[in-house]
């Protein structure tokens, strides 16, 4: 079988990374299945409803966005818009600059990974510190996260303990509790010194302007409670129509992502600190980020904008389990990454990704908003085939098939070709003009006599 670029990256992975990713994603998937089916008679009905609600939002984004903007402004937040990654980074930077802020603590947000915010700010002299334990470790190691919600699924505790020792966070100790304690102590001071806190938002409610932020560690709570300025980076597709929809979505998100009934901390933010509240930010900024989303909206794969970034499709995917998130070229990995990346970056840019799937359908079965991931992957494959680059490569193949068709419809020519073939030998192996084609296919051997010969001799 022909290898793809993704296989080459995967082949270079150390065995311990492969084991870590395989075990981690498998556990996540098994727990999720048990929790969903234990608590709900028919979780598929919930997935259908959640998918319909999100699809409704996507189909009506032009109305929902101005509505949520008006609510946010009424709640005392400032709203910014960014069409590109660069514009989003710039928006964050100008907010910080206006306040003279030098130190930013940030909770985990996929949008900030997309726009490579931390690098942008560091280059301009602003410390942008990751506070999610996994993201903190990734930042310390100048590495990249490899899973939407478990960023260090590819690292084992020994590697982390060595990193902490190297970074001056204490002598080697690979007990996860100790590693966590050390990160806690280090980050605690950072929160209290920080000038601003940055988060994403899991949901933004149109009718109330409520931002919902979900974490297990409590780091996003810290980013808000301890600092004077809250900045939220929000993809334009994150909207839900009503507060009451949150009951369904928070249940599905926690169960699908981490197999919990509810995530430990669910925060509902309606604006900056009110008069008399002794803590919380004085200023609140919400930046709506497009960065390719309107292109997706215009494409055939609009339904991918339903995605709530739970990671369930990664955990269940046999390909992800084997190759891990780093084999994927962008911040989103697994089945959802195989769709989002070519959609955001252009099909020509990442033509191999939609093929990094066995089309087993497992991702489509677990998706909490019922995105038909296998179907979209198939459609993307067809898009790739149609793309110009591919057309050019296939010109020779097409010519060959045209000649073959002509030969097959002219009996005399066909007979003559058979004779030539028998005397000169059938093309085989992977050398010569047909080498590339034959490297993946075997022609059946030519019989010693043709059917016509046998018929005549009868």
């Amino acid at each position: 079988m022909r290898t793809q670029p993704i296989d080459q990256v995967a082949a270079g992975l150390p065995a311990e990374t492969k084991t870590a990713v395989y075990e981690g994603s498998k556990i996540g998937h098994e727990k999720r299945t048990k929790l969903l089916f234990d608590h709900y008679g028919d979780p598929n009905r919930l997935r259908t409803l959640a998918g319909e609600i999100k699809q409704h939002v996507v189909e009506n984004l032009d109305t929902y966005l101005p509505a949520v903007e008006a609510r946010l402004v009424a709640n005392g937040a400032k709203v910014h818009w960014a069409a590109t990654a660069e514009a989003a980074c710039e928006a964050v930077y100008s907010i910080l600059k206006a306040r003279g802020a030098k130190k930013l603590v940030k909770a985990k947000t996929m949008v900030s990974e997309e726009i490579e915010l931390a690098d942008y700010l560091e280059k301009r002299g602003i410390e942008a510190l990751e506070t999610d334990l996994g993201e903190f470790i990734v930042q310390l190691d100048h590495d990249h996260p490899s899973h939407i919600i478990k960023p260090i699924i590819h690292k084992n505790r020994r590697q982390i303990a060595e990193l902490f020792e190297k970074s001056g966070l204490g002598a080697y100790d690979d007990e996860p509790g100790m590693i966590t304690q050390r990160a806690r102590q280090f980050l605690r001071h950072k929160y209290l010194e920080a000038d601003a806190g940055l988060t994403g938002a899991n949901f933004v409610v149109a009718e109330s302007g409520r931002l919902v932020i979900v974490t297990n560690e409590g780091n996003s709570r810290f980013c808000l409670a301890a600092t004077r300025c809250h900045i939220a980076l929000v993809g334009i597709e994150k909207i839900l129509p009503r507060d009451r929809d949150l009951a369904l979505f928070l249940n599905l998100l926690a169960r699908s992502g981490t197999a919990q009934q509810l995530t430990v901390y669910n925060e509902f933010i309606l604006g900056p600190r009110a008069a008399g509240q002794p803590d919380g930010p004085d200023e609140m900024h919400v930046i709506f980020v497009d960065n390719g989303r309107t292109d997706v909206l215009a494409s055939d794969c609009r339904e991918i904008l339903r995605c709530i970034r739970c990671g369930a499709c990664l955990n269940t995917c046999p390909v992800y389990r084997k190759i891990g998130g780093h084999s994927f070229p962008w911040v989103y990995s697994g089945p959802i990454g195989a769709i989002l990346t070519p959609q955001f970056m252009g099909v020509q840019h990442e033509p191999a990704l939609p093929f990094a799937s066995s089309l087993c359908g497992a991702c489509g079965e677990v998706c909490p908003v019922k995105i038909d991931i296998p179907k979209i992957l198939l459609e993307l494959r067809s898009d790739v085939k149609k793309a110009d680059a591919r057309e050019h490569k296939n010109r020779l193949e097409k010519l060959g098939f045209r000649a073959f068709a002509w030969m097959m419809t002219h009996p005399r020519i066909f007979e003559m070709a058979g004779r030539i073939g028998r005397s000169m030998g059938w093309p085989s192996g992977n050398k010569g003009p047909m080498g590339a084609w034959l490297s993946e296919r075997d022609l059946p051997p030519l019989p010693a006599h043709s059917f016509r010969d046998l018929w005549r001799r009868r």
Binding site: N60, A226, A247, Q261, V264, Y265, Q277, D279, D290
Partner: protein, 212 residues
Amino acid sequence: METPLVSRDYILHRIRTALGRGAGQAVADPPPARIRVPQVSMELRVASMLERVRALAGEAVASSDPCAVVANLIAGKTALASNAPYLAECGICGLPGVRSGITGREELREICATVDIGITSADYALADTGTLVLLSSPREARMISLLPPAHIAVVPRERILTGLDELFALLPNPAEASSSMVLITGPSRTADIEQILVRGVHGPGQLTVIVV
């Protein structure tokens, strides 16, 4: 660089083009929200609340004398109680080692960063998930349930709702009273390192719920 307003109109224009619509076209109604509020007796709610908190490795007790339970838990440690009137009514603010009545931002941060235990009440609790619902206000600061390594919440039983659905059936009223509402379900935790569960990452690693 584009001004924010230009970006806004540009993005909205692209969305309308993608959807093939003019400005101001009416939106169809979304599919109905799914809210199921079961009828559950108060006894069963209390039992479920205690059971769920324990299942998440928190401690949970039902008691008619919360002051005595808290005194027992403090046992020589230091604590900061929130300004919730209910805690004062219970006599918790008068216990030795317990400070209370803090209103200044800096003072609050300093004390929260040094005490062993933070004590709060809760505006609501959710029985089926063992969740505490706290609304930020001058009476209930965010830091107290976040900074200290241990959190004790004292909850009158009549505030226990059946679950998330019932809370959202009450919305917007509870959350509109505050710019920040938080749901706390168990101690702070992570499984980032080899999927091994560790408690007390940034928030408290110990959680005690006292249902009165």
